[in-house]
Amino acid sequence: MNPTLTIAGLTIREAVRRRLLLAFVAITVVIVGVSAWGFDRLSHSNSLTSGEANLAVPQALILFMFMFSFVLALSASAIASPSISSELESGVLMTIVPRPIRRTEVLLGKWLGLATLLAGYAGGVCALEFGVVALVSGFVPPSPVLAGVYLFAEGALLLTLALLLSTRVPVIAAGVVGVAVFGAGWLAGVVGTLGTTFNIGALRTVGNVGRFVLPTDGLWHAAIYYLQPASLIAQHLADGTHGGDPFYAQGAPSWAYLLWVFCWFGIVLAAALASFERREL
């Protein structure tokens, strides 16, 4: 078997045995259960007209998915940051690296294994939450698969960044930096939204630059776009509030932006591979 796949398999097996997946599944099921009750109340509330309920349910779903995107980002950072530094400190990697394999294969295997776990979690969360919402309220996002893909991509981006940090800095530093960077990226997006709302060029620039430096917020907005029904977009356009809501996306991401995101992945992954390759063990 290819060494990369061997390491990926090892990474997944260890995560499963660590009961990491079990813990995530358990907490997710609880949250989705609570959300099922909330969406049921919301969609059958007597204080809302059916039109208001049709707008409130997608907005609430976007808020819930924002929470899950945070969980995904946090878990991506948490599982990737110890993968190199911690195993070097403990000595586990010192038994693997001298084998007749390339260090790049070790790192790619780790990335592949962790990304597979993340994809499984993102897919599971989306399927559960979208299913439950559809069941209790009848609302189905316009493109649930694309929304899920962008949520996963957001987590994978942080995973890749945390892996790069893990090749050089201790586990806690890598984890903290990963989460902080995610927060900063989201905040830059909010600042950009404020800039658009109040027509402040400098703030708008912060948002735009932030989306390129760390595309997590851009990907999150892509996910939002595919969660919004046409009625919600029409409502925002009618109200003229399209620029002022951080949980609203005006349009799908451009091909140029998606190309940049691919480049970003490539650059950070290449930096991680080069960093690990050059590191003295």
């Binding site: 061997t6 097996r13 660590r18 010192m94 038994t95 001298p98 007749p100 390339r102 003295e280 063990l281």
Partner: protein, 342 residues
């Protein structure tokens, strides 16, 4: 399954042909990169380092170190803590890059992937996947070594048997004591019958029984023709199993040679001989300096190769030989002497 050799270091097979870096000069650069099993690769020394150096900022960990380890020998790499032994091992395995000098391992440049296929390594800082069983760890390394799948089971069993872990093979490594993990590490290092086995402080976590077992394993490796590079600060270990040793301190070689060379040809012999009067001992001063120690006669400074001749002479004079105990300076004493001389 392992054969036991004599514990007397003087009786251990000695190869004194290799001088440190002898005659290699810069010729190391023209060695072909051969780890492909070709005749040239097979003939090259297991390790051939010339002027290898490693600096960490202003700190010199390895300072222009030259060694040659022949194939099939057990080579002890000795030195006090912080002497640069582990750094040297990391350089040889390609885990760290030298800042000077050159080296070939199994005829290939440092870190060569194909050469690493032929190297078994037990690191000083060892830890194996705690959530895997011992068998799964061994299987993982069989995969990483790209051993044929049909051999995995046999390799696993053989490794577990050698390190006496068959009964714990299906237990998770996380439940193992440190000593058991070190045994497992030794088993991992033996997978695929490597041509070179690098053991970095292989008995640091072992009890006396474990240490004895490791010595037996090393002897077994020599029997089957593997080269062993034993990095240790436990001199007794080296004294028991090594053909040749290098003593290093502060990153530099202090001395290299066979144990006989290191400990000197001259030693001491204690004799218990009956049937001889005081006058019968005259004319034997050429063997060394005599003195009495109770019922023992002690000859100091005797050439160890002449002990048999001395015994023959005493028998010819009517002596009844009850005991002959050759004594030599211990490696530990010699080691301390060498370090003090620096």
């Amino acid at each position: 399954m392992w054969q036991t050799n004599s514990a007397d270091p003087a009786a251990v097979g000695v190869d004194s042909r290799q001088a440190v870096g002898g005659g290699v000069g810069r010729s190391v650069t023209v060695h072909p990169v051969l780890a492909d099993g070709s005749p040239h690769a097979a003939m090259s020394p297991a390790i051939h380092a010339v002027g290898l150096s490693k600096r960490f900022g202003d700190t010199v960990a390895v300072d222009s170190l030259s060694i040659t380890v022949q194939r099939g020998e057990v080579f002890g790499f000795l030195g006090p803590n912080g002497a640069g032994k582990t750094t040297m091992v990391k350089l040889l395995l390609g885990l760290a890059r030298p800042t000077g000098g050159e080296a070939l391992v199994l005829g290939a440049p440092l870190g060569d992937r194909e050469a690493r296929r032929q190297i078994g390594y037990l690191p000083e800082l060892f830890r194996y996947q705690p959530l895997l069983t011992a068998r799964e760890v061994l299987r993982l390394h069989c995969r990483l070594l790209a051993l044929p799948k049909q051999t995995w089971r046999q390799e696993e069993h053989s490794a577990l048997q050698t390190v006496d872990l068959v009964a714990r093979g299906d237990d998770r490594v996380g439940t193992f004591s440190k000593g058991m993990q070190q045994r497992l590490g030794l088993g991992v290092a033996l997978l695929g019958s490597p041509a070179l086995v690098v053991l970095d402080e292989p008995t640091s976590a072992l009890d006396p029984v474990g240490r004895h077992d490791v010595r037996e394993i090393i002897r077994g490796l020599r029997e089957r023709g593997s080269t062993v590079f034993l990095n240790t600060h436990l001199l007794q270990e080296a004294e028991h199993v090594c053909d040749r040793v290098a003593v290093i301190d502060k990153g530099r070689t202090v001395v290299t040679g066979s144990l006989a060379e290191l400990l000197g040809r001259h030693g001491r012999v204690r004799l218990k001989v009956g049937g001889l009067g005081e006058g019968s001992w005259s004319g034997l001063d050429g063997f060394g300096h005599w003195h009495r120690d109770g019922e023992w006669t002690v000859v100091e400074g005797i050439d160890r190769s002449r002990i048999a001749e001395l015994v023959g002479e005493l028998v010819s004079r009517g002596g009844q030989i009850e005991a002959v105990i050759p004594e030599h300076q211990s490696l530990e004493a010699r080691f301390l002497e060498l370090l003090r001389e620096r």
